[in-house]
């Protein structure tokens, strides 16, 4: 069996859905944070996989065999010779996710100090 872009996309959508459902269902703030990380990593997987199978470099009628074969058919010396926006995007996502986690954990920590719980259903004083 050859692993194609479709396989990566399927795995990424499973991860993304797991994260989204986890975020919506679980009531623990830390689990919600982890669910968001899972969603972001699903996005990273999509970006990196899509970078290897870039549609813009596929000549007409080419079979989607391997990234290397596609690159060769499109006239590139190697797969690494083509643009890597997806790979770079993934690095940005990782960096920003770290910053986001820092702010998020600080908020969760401050919330815990006051309320002695990190359950999101304890956050119920604002209503109306």
């Amino acid at each position: 069996m050859t692993v194609t872009l479709g396989h990566y996309l399927a795995l990424a959508s499973v991860l993304f859905t797991t994260g989204a459902v986890g975020f919506l269902v679980r009531r623990n703030a830390l689990v919600a944070l982890m669910s968001i990380e899972l969603m972001l990593n699903a996005v990273n997987l999509t970006l990196v996989a899509a970078n290897r199978w870039q549609p813009s470099m596929v000549p007409a009628g080419a079979e989607p065999a391997t990234p290397e074969a596609l690159a060769a058919a499109a006239g590139y010396a190697s797969q690494s010779a083509i643009a890597h926006h997806g790979q770079v995007f993934a690095f940005f996502v990782i960096a920003v996710a770290a910053a986001e986690a820092a702010v998020g954990l600080a908020i969760v920590l401050a919330f815990y100090r006051l309320r002695k719980t990190i359950r999101t259903d304890a956050a119920d004083t604002l209503k109306g």
Partner: protein, 503 residues
């Protein structure tokens, strides 16, 4: 070098200004006192945007490589953000001092958030969009939870952070799907690859380009709807606005909203601005028209039953997002209507900025530490006890209602007129009916202040004395009156700004 960097001046000034604020805070002995410098940085950055506009520099700098587009739309919005952010930092100076919250980190956070907002209205690449959105949001999350000893503030921050990160993840998923089917991250490249001209080779990947791009569009729309606070993604707005320090609420309601609408317009008009996706019968405008109607109706109906003035203003800001969305819905239309619709959104954002900063500022001014103006009952009899504070609040609430001759009137007027010109009488009527409903709760505050006496033994709001807040309110009031009496000049600027944005 100067030529290539010049178009970036507003963003760079904002970034360096925020760094400078951080350094000043690190090396000064006493806490606080940064409100004036922070406001100065905002006003300088905003005026630089106007200066760039006037000088007519070659705006698309080669240095940017399509990551940021500096055009008249973004310069207009930069100026609005500079104005809103500057007024909000002045309000923060008075508010944080009164409530013994004056710590140095607030103003750099505010500055970096404004820098993110300015990048966001210029973003023309999904990568830049994401980075700018997070730069803005992370600052605002921290500003929301700034009062660390208050369970309500932290609850507001927790809710805003969790839902905001979720929305950012949805946006990223949409961007990644677009990259998968097009191989591009820049808006123009995505649009071109999605709707190519000429003979196309058959898709070699067996991925359904049309369906994936629709899915991506829905994900991105949901994320943007969250950021502007549109129904059904509005649940965070009342809680966050109520729990956050009032200065943060004022900032969020003007700067974050302006930036979110700016990027909404640019993204939807460039990436999904083709005839198919932007068709007013079956494309995203049709969907967003329903969202707009729901947003203004739900916002107004919920605002009717509030007992807290701050929460009422939060729901009313949802309603205003609904009016603005009407303009967004009309933006992709051809025949000149689109440009007018974008111009009316830009005008509304400016009018809303001065009115809303004023309303929150007047609410701050009406209460002091320990005797804050929170509920409608706190304000009872304020007109007799402290007529000036009551008068200020009345003035800005009238502008939010849309009573002439205030900024709010022309904001709504242009939106309604554009809807009528496009033959959407029903949508225009819904906006007008909603404004009438909103008059009920805005006037409710005024009636309470001037015609009701406080119940014996009840808590009463005591106005605080603050020079910066007073100065800010005077500035905002001048803006409201200027836009209400002489709207033509600003409107012609908005029209010039809208020319390139609309197709």
């Amino acid at each position: 070098m100067i030529q290539t960097l010049a178009p970036l001046a507003p963003i760079l000034l904002m970034a360096f200004g925020a760094v400078a604020l951080m350094l000043i805070d690190a090396f000064q002995d006493e806490e606080g006192g940064l409100a004036m410098p922070a406001a100065l940085v905002h006003f300088v950055a905003g005026s630089t945007a106007l200066l760039l506009w006037k000088r007519g520099l070659p705006l698309d700098s080669g240095l940017l490589h399509g990551y940021l587009v500096i055009d008249k739309t973004s310069l207009f919005l930069d100026a609005v953000i500079g104005l809103g952010g500057g007024l909000a930092s002045l309000l923060a100076g008075g508010y944080l001092h009164e409530h013994k919250l004056e710590r140095g980190e607030y103003y750099p956070l505010l500055g970096f958030a404004s820098c993110g907002a300015m990048m966001l209205v210029s973003a023309s690449d999904t990568l830049m969009l994401f980075v700018a959105l997070e730069t803005m949001s992370l600052g605002v999350y921290a500003m929301t939870g700034y009062r660390r000893t208050s369970a309500r503030a932290l609850e507001a921050a927790l809710k805003y952070f969790l839902l905001g990160s979720f929305a950012a993840a949805l946006l990223l998923a949409g961007a990644a799907l677009l990259y998968t089917v097009t191989g591009h991250t820049d808006f123009a490249g995505i649009a071109q690859a999605l709707h190519p001209t000429g003979e196309q080779p058959p898709d070699p990947f067996l991925v359904d380009k049309a369906r994936i791009s629709i899915l991506a569009m829905l994900l991105i729309l949901a994320a943007l709807a969250f950021k502007v606070g549109a129904v059904p993604f509005h649940m965070w707005v009342p809680d966050t606005y109520e729990g956050a320090p009032t200065s943060t609420t004022a900032y969020m309601s003007v700067v974050v909203k302006t930036a979110a609408f700016g990027v909404f317009l640019r993204l939807m008009l460039t990436v999904f601005g083709d005839a198919g996706s932007a068709s007013s019968a079956a494309g995203w405008p049709a969907l967003m028209a329903w969202v707009a109607v729901l947003t203004m109706t739900v916002g107004n109906l919920a605002a009717l039953v509030q007992t807290s003035v701050k929460r009422m203003l939060a729901y009313s800001s949802i309603a205003h997002a609904g009016y603005l969305l009407v303009g967004v819905v009309l933006a992709p239309r051809g025949g000149g209507v689109g440009a007018v619709a974008v111009a009316s959104v830009l005008f509304y954002l400016l009018a809303y900025t001065v009115s809303n900063v004023g309303a929150f500022g007047a609410l701050m001014l009406a209460g002091r530490r320990g005797a804050e103006a929170v509920s409608f009952d706190d304000l009872a009899g304020l007109g007799k006890r402290h007529p000036w504070a009551a008068f200020a609040l009345t003035f800005f609430l009238l502008s939010l209602t849309g009573v002439p001759p205030t900024a709010g009137f022309f904001g709504k007027f242009y939106i309604v007129r554009t809807a009528l010109d496009s033959g959407l009488g029903l949508l225009a009527a819904i906006v007008v009916v909603n404004s009438a409903v909103s008059a009920y709760y805005y006037l409710g505050v005024i009636v309470k202040m001037f015609m009701k006496d406080p119940a014996p033994g009840a808590t009463r709001a005591q106005p605080m004395a603050s020079g910066t807040i007073f100065f800010t309110l005077v500035g905002a009031a001048l803006g409201v009156l200027y836009l209400g009496l002489l709207p033509e000049r600003v409107l012609s600027l908005a029209l010039a700004a809208a020319e390139r944005a609309a197709p």
